[in-house]
């Protein structure tokens, strides 16, 4: 098999991306090859800028263009509520809902002894400092509902016990707009257990 090495290199780089396999990488590379030069320049520029012009917010560890991110800076946000999430992608997911008007705190992972993640490797000290400094009234734990997420929630709950702050966790239950009959059994079972009174 003979493929120009420039093309091969592009395919190899693209296939390093998450959820891109060899075939998709090849399709993307060939697509880029066929595109207008300006298009390609824009693409590569935007990728570079993503890395060069962004940093991690010093306050909440979200992605930001400045030292402090737009959410932390905003006058319109309720600064007394902090929503704790695992990764930056979770901030995006919650922001999309427009249902939350407080601030975030990105932990950068969850407790997982198996993968060497301990409490010190998470942005926990910073969270405690913020709760003190910002006089928070509520901390919402929005971690994934798996074993590691649940355990980390328990851990944070214990850390915050000494502060006069309400700690809550996201509810588990049925997806909105879905038919009950199509939800998987475990989800329905969970929703049944954590039902709420009307």
């Amino acid at each position: 098999m003979i493929i120009p090495s420039t093309l091969q290199k592009a395919i190899d780089e693209l296939s390093k991306l998450p959820s891109i396999g060899r075939k998709s990488a090849q399709r993307l590379a060939l697509h880029i090859l066929k595109s207008e030069l300006l298009e390609v320049q824009n693409l590569s520029k935007s990728i570079l800028e993503l890395k060069e012009n962004t940093q991690i917010c010093k306050n909440c560890f979200n992605i930001s263009e400045n030292e402090i991110c737009d959410i932390c800076k905003s006058e319109k946000r309720d600064k007394s509520i902090i929503c704790v999430v695992e990764e930056i992608s979770d901030v995006i997911a919650i922001e999309k809902t427009n249902e939350f008007n407080g601030l975030y705190h990105v932990l950068g992972g969850v407790l997982s002894p198996l993968s060497g993640k301990d409490a010190d490797s998470l942005n926990l000290k910073e969270l405690i400092a913020r709760v003190k400094l910002e006089n928070s009234t509520e901390v919402i734990l929005a971690l994934n509902p798996d074993t590691e997420g649940e355990t980390t929630s328990l851990y944070i709950g214990r850390l915050l016990k000494t502060f006069n702050v309400k700690v809550s966790r996201l509810a588990r239950g049925l997806p909105i707009g879905g038919d009950l009959e199509f939800a998987d059994d475990a989800t329905i079972g969970r929703a049944m257990l954590s039902r709420i009174q009307l």
């Binding site: 002894p113 301990d118 409490a119 355990t151 475990a186």
Partner: protein, 370 residues
């Protein structure tokens, strides 16, 4: 649920085998290594997409062939064609229902319930506690996917916690103890749910099991299953008992670097007239107990899932006396469709064999008459 016919291609010795089954008893008769168990194995594949004896899919493909293909026609309320296709080169298994590729195997499970009785099952009564937990976990999981979910979470917590215990063994840092406390809390939460599920299950299952035992034994022996959890705890508050037991083992857990308390250490005790089967039971009693467990499972699943399972029995009449074997075959007849392998039918003239039952003679992967 009934399987009407099956069509095998390149499945172990079966290069090309087509059989129409009876709705009642199907005796599969042949010498050793002629392809009897493979027939049961193929039915099991159709019901679960998994291997009956934990062989690899690769090993099931006939020598020098590249794939196997199994098609079965099931009827319950409606007719379904199930097809399992395995490609050796890609090491890939595809599952089709009515020629629609269904992707995940979990769609199959529960829809085509099957109960098996195979020689390696003797471990359930004679083996270690882990063999019994594995058996009951699989029965409960078939009926409750919530249970399966908690079980998977719990196993994950066990792994995380033992990794942390090992880290503490190395470093003894105070910080890690704080982390251990929350992993312990998760362990107790999930573990207690498992224990409660098992207690609830056993309350229901006990009746099914005892009824089956009565049917095949006809004597006054009373068998019971007892669930022993958290080192024989009798505490009604499970979470509290769990925490208490953990406290007792606190330092030992760190020394050993492993989880010493929880439902992963529990056992199910089998008794006959209040004597422990494992200590006092004869071979025959073990066998009868096991068969009653499987029949109990059959009726339990039938009621909970609402479909009648197919019964697969491999080589079990050899070790039973004529009276019991006859009872079992009569019992099987009552309940629906069953597949039974035998080496030589002439030795088993006491087995139930009605007009609608079928005898399948098999030699070197070929059906001689059916």
């Amino acid at each position: 649920m009934i399987i009407n016919k099956i069509d095998l291609k390149n499945f172990r010795l079966h290069k090309e085998t087509k059989i129409n089954f009876s709705k009642h008893l199907n005796y599969i008769v042949g010498g050793n290594g002629q392809g009897k168990t493979s027939l049961l194995e193929s039915i099991y594949y159709l019901c679960t997409s998994k291997n009956l004896t934990q062989s690899k899919d690769l090993e099931v493909v006939s020598f020098s062939e590249l794939y196997f293909n199994v098609v079965g026609n099931f009827s319950d309320l409606v007719n379904n064609n199930v097809r399992i296709f395995f490609n050796k080169e890609e090491n890939k298994k595809s599952i089709f229902i009515d020629e629609k590729n269904i992707g995940r195997a979990s769609t199959l499970i529960g829809n085509f319930p099957v109960v098996t009785l195979i020689p390696s099952n003797h471990l359930i009564t004679q083996g270690a506690p882990s063999d019994r937990r594995k058996y009951f976990d699989s029965v409960i999981s078939q009926a409750s996917s919530t249970y399966l979910k908690i079980l998977l979470d719990y196993n994950r917590t066990l792994k995380q916690r033992s990794s942390l215990l090992n880290q503490i063994k190395e470093s003894k840092s105070k910080k890690l103890f704080d982390e251990l406390n929350v992993w312990t809390e998760s362990l107790v939460n999930q573990g207690s749910e498992i224990i409660e599920h098992r207690i609830k299950f056993l309350k229901i299952f006990q009746d099914y099991f005892q009824n089956s035992y009565k049917k095949i034994m006809d004597v006054l022996e009373i068998p019971t299953i007892e669930y022993s959890f958290l080192n024989n705890s009798v505490e009604s508050n499970i979470k509290k008992a769990f925490v208490d037991e953990l406290k007792k083992c606190e330092s030992l857990e760190i020394v050993r670097g492993s989880n010493l308390v929880g439902p992963h250490k529990d056992d199910f005790i089998f008794n006959l007239n209040e004597n422990e089967l494992k200590k006092y039971g004869s071979q025959g009693q073990h066998k009868t107990f096991l068969i009653a467990l499987r029949f109990g499972e059959f009726f339990y699943l039938k009621n909970i899932i609402g479909r009648t399972p197919i019964f697969l029995m491999d080589d079990i009449f050899g070790e039973l006396d004529a009276f019991r074997a006859n009872k079992i075959s009569e019992y099987l007849k009552e309940i629906g469709q069953a597949f039974i392998t035998l080496t030589d039918l002439s030795n088993f003239d006491y087995l139930a064999n009605g007009n609608e039952d079928l005898i399948i003679n098999i030699k070197n992967g070929q059906i001689i008459n059916a």
